[in-house]
């Protein structure tokens, strides 16, 4: 499977192995991590949840789309769910391609599409004990 939701820590080395191939001259790995400050507030951790069946479908569709658009079958994405601590990887995208430009472009495409359309939500926990659902700029209809 080239698109995966997981509750386990993301193994980026395994992702790189998944996309490896002798025809590829370029491999790009993007890792998104939980950062300590968001919108000026000190974060202690993030809880990710999803509409899992649909998120799985959307992630798979994005990978298919990226493969077709940039001409490589070597595209994988993993998104973590559950409670994450600061610095942990919440998402990883790996792309390998004969050339570097489309490898970078395809990785960028996957993460941007993911942020736009995959039904995943995050509940941020702050140092002051409060919590808030993050509405990451995605407009309503």
């Amino acid at each position: 499977m080239r698109a995966l939701l997981t509750r386990e820590p993301i193994d980026s080395t395994a992702l790189l192995e998944r996309v490896a191939g002798r025809a590829n001259g370029a491999t790009v790995l993007f890792i998104g991590t939980v950062r300590e400050v968001n919108e000026g507030r000190a974060v202690t951790g993030i809880e990710y949840s999803a509409y899992e069946s649909m998120a799985q479908r959307e992630l798979s569709a994005i990978v298919e789309d990226a493969s077709a658009r940039y001409g490589t079958p070597h595209v994988v994405v993993v998104h973590r769910l559950g409670e994450l601590m600061l610095g942990e990887a919440s998402v990883a995208v790996a792309v390998a391609h004969p050339r570097r430009a489309p490898a970078f472009d395809a990785a960028r495409f996957v993460i941007e599409q993911l942020k736009k359309r995959v039904p995943i939500w995050k509940l941020e926990h702050y140092v002051d004990g409060t919590r808030e659902w993050v509405n990451a700029g995605t407009a309503h209809r």
């Binding site: 509409y51 069946s53 479908r57 998104h79 039904p119 939500w121 309503h140 209809r141």
Partner: protein
């Protein structure tokens, strides 16, 4: 006909449950069902035009529903 409404994240917290079955008129559209959802206790806080998915695909307001459809009301996504 009966459809299943799925609620997530902040919307599930507002209404207090992750899903609810609603009896709606045959052929009801997404926007008509949204009006019924809005009448549920706690659901008044839903935004005017939330994203909706029917059977795991994003659907427009005018999309007609069939018996047994799974209608998910999708809060602003925040993956990554």
């Amino acid at each position: 006909m009966v459809v299943t409404i799925l609620l997530f994240a902040s919307y599930a917290e507002a209404v207090g449950v992750p899903s609810v079955k609603l009896d709606v008129p045959p052929g009801a559209t997404v926007s008509e069902v949204l009006e019924l959802v809005r009448a549920l206790p706690g659901a008044g806080a839903l935004p005017p035009g939330p994203l909706v998915a029917v059977n795991e695909s994003y659907a427009a307001e005018g999309h007609p529903l069939a018996p047994g459809d799974e209608v998910a009301i999708i809060p602003p996504v925040a993956g990554g």
